[in-house]
């Protein structure tokens, strides 16, 4: 069963307050040059269908409960990748009044991809590392 789970990781993208530089790199992954469909990755519209949640951007106060609700809507086993300095730790906006901070303050994060924005290859490298860690028996979500 693990073979199937590794070969078709469906992805959902949620931007919880980013400057959309990382978002256009995530969307660029689908385009011909990087084409993540090679790995069987599809961008799914609904949290119900997704296995991996790609979060970009610092978590603003209004987006925090949305992020949590989407994370809870996703069926097990689910994983979270934080893309970009803002998602990893709040980046440049750390400490502003409407900003809670990195994504790991709200939901458990499995892979951190630093960079502002990380190159699409770096994001693919992050996903490949996540898949390797799943292969190595990493449980979803639990610390």
């Amino acid at each position: 069963m693990k073979w199937a789970r590794l070969k078709s990781p469906w992805v959902l993208h949620f931007n919880s307050g980013a400057c959309n530089a990382c978002d256009i790199e995530v969307v660029a992954l689908l385009t011909p040059r990087y084409d993540v469909e090679r790995f069987g990755i599809l961008l799914e519209p609904s949290p119900r269908h997704a296995d991996i949640l790609l979060t970009t951007g610092v978590v603003t106060r209004q987006c925090a409960d949305r992020l949590k609700r989407i994370y809870e809507q996703m069926p097990e086993p689910k994983f979270v990748i934080a893309i970009g300095a803002c998602a990893c730790s709040g980046g440049v906006f750390e400490g502003n009044y409407n900003v809670i901070g990195g994504v790991d303050k709200v939901i458990p994060v499995d892979v951190y991809i630093p960079g502002c924005p990380p190159k699409p290859e770096a994001i693919i490298d992050g996903v490949v590392k996540l898949l390797k860690s799943i292969e190595g028996g990493k449980q979803s979500g639990k610390r």
């Binding site: 709040g90 750390e94 951190y112 630093p114 960079g115 502002c116 990380p118 490949v128």
Partner: protein, 130 residues
Amino acid sequence: MKVKREMAKLSPILREVISQVFKKPATRRYPEVKPKVPAGLRGRQIFDITLCISCGLCARDCPAKAIEMVDVEGKMRPLFHLDRCIFCYQCAESCPRNAIKSSEIFELASTNKSDLVVKPKENSVSGGSQ
């Protein structure tokens, strides 16, 4: 019907789509084929500990406060928090001895946050452990 009149000129997409099928796909097979990266890419920092005079200018100018001065064998050295760093290289510019240089290493993803903190001891001239 309006649709009829505008259908007159056939859209170029019809030929384009067929011609694309026979062309080589524009996909770069990333994990197997490493991309050729331009020289000035702003990847991970390389910190040269011998040049550093621990003046702390880099830590002061860093917009994301990603550099922390840490005591290493009596001297204060910059410690890079890669998860906060925005790779703008203002630190390289404001360093009087230009001890910080950019490199082409951009695959920095990691599963736990702790190994995103680059201590000054480790990444000497050779470019760090990772």
